[in-house]
């Protein structure tokens, strides 16, 4: 049922499968005026085929919930989240079957050895309907929800071209799917989904710091029918093989005093349009280019969504795009771990049983625990999107991305140090995976900045509610009694011994009682940390990145702990294979994570003179003053 005859697909290219057509086909049985009779027949056949394939997928979402992680900083914990999300029985069965097929496909030699996302390659994917996963069934998509598409991405990531595939899927296809009008959908989306063409999304610029500092501009032409595009976009994934570009360009600048707010618009640009130059950036294993637009004309019809609406468009796409990095990381880490196990088994002999060495056990154990955390966090987040209407997952998706890419990098370095120099040889299995791990950390948005953004987003949320409190703390002379009282009421927090009264254990299997207490501790500490940070720095908190990163780390750990505990509790309660071991994995993760949280929050509490923060600031100032590393050589003499 899943396999479609490629013949049909080829005939269908550039053909219209609009809803109108389907309606006519259904109700009137009338053939629209088309010149060529056999082709017309094919088209009708195709339409019927699509219609027979449509199965009604009703997904009832639960009502909107307040943001989950952001509420941590207010000391609120939604215990509903401790019920780990799941799909219904039928969906799971279908999904597992399909994913198995895709996995099998990715293992075939012509796919696994493919060096670029060629047309052949795309059509192979399209035959399994894995381009345009979330597109409606009437467009011949699978109409997946986020959870399902994540699972497909996990399978697709078996290929070395994972970044390219996902980029096309999560940005190009998703943007068109969610925002494009019918015409654009018919013109491009169908082709994209059939693998005829490939998309690349031009967003980042190397000089830009945020969305308001892009230099690529589009100006309405004099006849007001088209836009003239100028500028350069860097690090465009798939840029070389792509046939269409989704370009974000500044179309309006609103300045208020010195702050400049820009309005972005998303354009769909044919690669063949005049004035486009594509410059190859030398990068291994991934197709990244710089695209320059020089007076490129884009018709107004090619605007995706509405004019000046690029921000909204990006906002809705970025979260899912970030989230989609996590399943890729899961596959990569899984491959690293599995290959490492094989390698260790192969290398050990009777005299030297490598797999019984304590050091190896430690590394493998740690890797498994972090992989467990990655998986749990990713699917908890997808569950949040799928189960609740308009759930805010800004922070959760960043956490999934940052945690997954960081742990992948960790695992890659760990296995590199276990394998040794061999691991860097071109022929070794680890080399491409290691390169990939680096890319996960740096491509699109670097982890470092994301971590800061995530803690800022949380603080922003907390700031709304804590404003009065912060105001009182920051003005002790106006609120003397309050501040004196606070010394007493806050004493347990100051002593790093918060009262654990959330009773999370009531919602979990009793064997996880200890871990649930650890989680409670983390929540309480995060609440305390938010108070400290906002009270200490006020609105200037944006500039204190060292503390923000600590808070970010603590938030990440807490969320992943939640995910691990919820997942293992579910597994244990329903008796999945190795469920007992899952408890151990979850507890292991929680033990290490709670230590990190404790350390991070204590440093936040101590402030910048008791940590190294202030020293780093002065040192760095000096380095920039001298424009180089300044200390004299250790052997230098003064007299």
């Amino acid at each position: 049922m899943l396999m479609r005859p490629s013949l049909n697909k080829k005939l269908l290219q550039n053909k219209v499968v609009s809803l109108d057509l389907i309606k006519t086909a259904l109700y009137n049985q009338q053939v629209p005026a088309v010149q060529n009779a056999p082709e017309d027949y094919e088209k009708q056949l195709k339409v019927f085929q699509t219609l027979t394939n449509v199965t009604k997928r009703t997904r009832i979402k639960k009502p909107h919930k307040p943001p989950f992680v952001k509420n941590f900083l207010l000391g609120k914990f939604d215990t509903d989240i401790l019920t780990y999300p799941e799909l219904n029985k039928e969906d799971t069965k279908n999904l597992e079957e399909n994913v198995k097929l895709v996995k099998k496909l990715m293992k075939q030699s012509h796919i696994s050895q493919s060096m670029s996302i060629s047309k052949q390659f795309r059509q192979n994917l399209s035959d399994f309907r894995v381009i345009g996963l979330q597109a409606p069934q009437l467009m011949d998509g699978l109409e997946c929800n986020v959870t399902e598409s994540s699972m497909f991405i996990e399978a697709l990531s078996e290929s070395n071209l994972r970044n390219g595939i996902v980029n096309n899927e999560q940005l190009g296809v998703q943007i068109l799917n969610t925002f494009a009008n019918e015409q654009l959908k018919i013109k491009y989306l169908t082709q994209l989904m059939s693998g005829e063409i490939l998309s690349a999304t031009c967003l980042t610029e190397s000089t830009a710091t945020d969305l308001n500092s892009f230099k690529t501009k589009a100006v309405l032409s004099s006849d007001e029918k088209s836009w003239i595009l100028n500028g350069t976009k860097n690090f465009v994934v798939n840029g070389k093989s792509a046939d269409i570009f989704v370009v974000f360009a500044v179309t309006k600048v609103i300045s208020r005093d010195i702050i400049k707010d820009t309005k972005l618009t998303a354009f769909l640009v044919d690669k063949d349009s005049p004035g486009i130059t594509v410059k190859d950036v030398n990068s291994q294993g991934i197709e990244v280019v710089d695209v320059t637009f020089n007076d490129t004309l884009v018709s107004s019809e090619n605007i995706i969504g509405e004019v000046h609406n690029g921000h909204t468009l990006l906002r809705s796409v970025t979260s899912e795009h970030r989230l989609s990095v996590a399943p890729m990381c899961i596959t990569v880490t899984k491959n690293i771990l599995n290959n490492l196990v094989t390698e260790i088994r192969n290398n050990s002999d009777e005299n030297n049983l490598l797999h019984e060495i304590d050091d190896v056990r430690e590394n493998i154990g740690e890797m498994a625990a972090s992989l467990y955390g990655m998986e749990s966090a990713t699917y908890l987040t997808t569950g949040l999107v799928d189960n609740y209407t308009e759930q805010d997952i800004e922070v959760e998706s960043i956490i999934s991305k940052v945690f997954a890419s960081e742990q992948t990098m960790n695992c890659a370095t760990k296995s590199l140090s276990m394998i040794g120099l061999n691991g860097l040889l071109d022929s070794h299995w680890l080399n491409p995976l290691y390169q990939e791990a680096i890319r996960f950390k740096t491509l699109n948005e670097p982890d470092n900045g994301l971590k800061i953004i995530l803690s800022l987003l949380c603080l922003q949320h907390a700031g709304k509610e804590l404003n009065d409190l912060v105001n009182k703390i920051r003005n002790p002379l106006f609120h003397g009694a309050f501040n004196l009282r606070r010394i007493w009421t806050n004493r347990r927090n100051n002593e790093d011994n918060p009262k654990l009264d959330l009773e999370l254990g009531d919602h979990l299997h009793p064997s996880l009682h200890n871990s649930s207490k650890q989680l409670e501790y983390c929540i309480k500490r995060l609440e305390f940390a938010a108070e400290i940070l906002l009270a200490r720095y006020g609105p200037e908190v944006l500039n204190y990145h060292m503390d923000l990163k600590r808070l970010g780390d603590a938030i990440i750990d807490t969320y992943v702990m939640t995910a691990c505990i919820a997942r293992s509790s579910r597994s244990y309660c329903i008796g999945l294979p190795n469920a007992a071991m899952e408890l151990t994995l979850a507890m292991t993760f929680c033990n290490t994570a709670v230590e990190r949280v404790k350390n991070n929050i204590n440093k936040l509490y101590l402030g910048y003179y008791h940590t190294n923060d202030q020293s780093y600031r002065t040192i760095s100032k000096k380095v920039f003053k001298y424009k180089e590393y300044f200390p004299s050589h250790p052997l230098a003499r003064n007299f």
Binding site: L211, N212, I258, G449, I453, K464, G538
Partner: protein
């Protein structure tokens, strides 16, 4: 008076007591008193002074030759060290050796070894041989004033002369504690010895001034490149990215001022420099509640770590209360013409509109030389010349 004598000649008594078995006690006293009387009459200081001042060819070699002559003159009893050293110290600068450690060491070496070492606690604490000790202390002080740091070899030298309780030795130790610490304290180190060329000095000076902005770039222009220039000289100019931006934003109708010369000292050398200044910008006070955290501006998408944005411009270090400083420079001649060449170079260097901006030269006492040590010239003529630079 007796006590003073006892202290000064106590060692003689002490020594003579020790060797009284071999020598006649009375005789040794006689000898030392004889010497004391003899020293009292000594008027050699005058001679030494003359001898240093009478030398025609004053350089390090002749100076050291003088020291050698003094040492070799009296083989058995060398006398008048203190006077010799004082007169030698006085004449150092004329010989150009006041910054030479070797010379100071050779002067200390003039003193006899072992003679001035105290032998008991009273001598040690009450300035045994005070004149000699004070003399060496003065020598060390002169070294310090001239920024000459003693080295390790000086320690055994002083120890041999004054023993480890001597005041010069203690001073030496203090100097060796502090001077290495002060030596490298300057945030703008210059090479030692300092180059003589004013061009190099001007470069150090401009680098020092412009270090206020990390992104400052020091450029050297040649006024020869401007065909209309009269003075053919160099121009060391500094400008940072933000200064370039500020100059680029400058309105064409507002005048800009070339002001100077101001003085900056590079290790005792005054260097004149000039600034290119615009009218001060109005100070804008941002009306913002410093406690309000209810509305933090966070962008969901950021490629670099976000920083707090301000609604109003935060003035850069170049925007001061009395003006906006666009650039600084030092020229070889400090003349008005060379400054004009500077403006023309800036015009060529990315500010084509500078020609249309009225440039006001506000120069105090037009100086020809970059080094102007003439302190007597107190009345500074303020020369104001206003004029539009237009292409001739």
């Amino acid at each position: 008076m007796f006590l003073k004598k006892l202290l000064r000649y106590g060692s003689v008594f002490y020594k003579s007591k020790q060797c009284s078995v071999k020598h006649n006690f009375v005789r040794s006293i006689q000898i030392s008193t004889e010497r004391y009387e003899e020293n009292k009459k000594d008027t050699k200081a005058l001679v030494h002074k003359d001898s240093f001042e009478n030398i025609e060819n004053k350089n390090k070699n002749t100076y050291l030759e003088m020291v050698k002559i003094f040492i070799n003159r009296d083989h058995v009893y060398r006398r008048g060290h203190v006077e010799f050293i004082y007169s030698a110290l006085k004449n150092m600068e004329e010989f150009g050796v006041h910054k030479d450690l070797e010379v100071y060491k050779s002067l200390i070496d003039v003193l006899p070894k072992g003679k001035f070492v105290p032998t008991n606690i009273i001598q040690a604490e009450f300035m045994h041989y005070p004149k000699q000790q004070q003399c060496i202390i003065d020598l060390l002080e002169q070294m310090e004033d001239n920024g000459v740091m003693p080295d390790i070899e000086m320690e055994p030298l002083l120890l041999n002369i004054f023993g480890n309780r001597g005041f010069p030795v203690r001073r030496y130790w203090r100097m060796m504690y502090w001077m290495p610490k002060f030596k490298n304290l300057s945030p703008w180190p210059v090479p030692d010895p300092l180059p003589k060329d004013t061009f190099d000095l001007a470069k150090y000076a401009i680098e020092r001034i412009s270090s206020v902005d990390v992104n400052s770039v020091v450029t050297v222009y040649q006024s020869e490149d401007i065909p209309e220039s009269i003075d053919k000289t160099w121009i060391v100019s500094a400008q940072s990215k933000s200064q370039r931006m500020l100059l680029g934003q400058h309105k064409l109708k507002d005048p800009i001022y070339v002001e100077g010369p101001f003085t900056i000292w590079i290790k005792g050398n005054p260097i004149n420099y000039f600034i290119l200044r615009g009218e001060p910008k109005p100070v804008i006070e941002e009306d913002k509640d410093p406690d309000d955290v209810s509305n933090l501006k966070v962008s969901l998408f950021s490629l670099k770590p976000p920083v707090a944005k301000h609604v109003k411009v935060i003035p850069s270090v170049h925007e001061q209360e009395d003006g906006v400083i666009f650039s600084v420079c030092a020229t070889g001649t400090s003349s008005k013409d060379s400054l004009l060449s500077w403006i023309r170079h800036l015009e060529k260097d990315g500010f084509p509109n500078l020609g249309q901006v009225p440039v006001v030269f506000m120069l105090k006492s037009s100086t020809k030389e970059i080094i102007n040590l003439d302190m007597d010239n107190t009345k500074e003529k303020i020369e104001k010349e206003t004029g539009k630079i237009d292409d001739k």
